[in-house]
Point group: C2
Chain length 92, copies 2
Amino acid sequence: MLTLISYDVVIDKRRTQVMKYLLGYGSRVQYSVFECDLTAEQFATVQRDIARLIDAQTDSVRCYRLDTGAIKQIRILGRGQVTTLPPYYLVG
Amino acid sequence: MLTLISYDVVIDKRRTQVMKYLLGYGSRVQYSVFECDLTAEQFATVQRDIARLIDAQTDSVRCYRLDTGAIKQIRILGRGQVTTLPPYYLVG
């Protein structure tokens, strides 16, 4: 499922770590916003790993799961486009 | 419907204008992220007004409509909480 992850991370080094980590899971659609196609298991892993990277007292990470209905309603003004999910093929 | 609006606006003055505009519609949950409860008409108005505030060549504004199912799946790490929508009362 497409998952939007936005973050406010105070310390530059930590913010870079979060950014680099998320590059492994999806596309950076804005400076501190990623869109990632995550299974439920991957989503749990990402939450666990990011929780270890940030300082829970000062930093904020927000994750939103977007179903196909929500994806159809994404509206973009200015630069950028919607992350297109790979078409899923039912095999066998 | 709860609507997430995130923005990357290059020029400080314009970014402040967008931020102040959105304060009139919802809560600032991260530095450049708002959660607003918008009717379809309000959503159209917000898109039209923000399109006039930004420079479409350099700036990016992303809008996501979140239904109750999506709201239930919001996950927050570190600081912050989910914007709670006012309970709707069916009258008469």
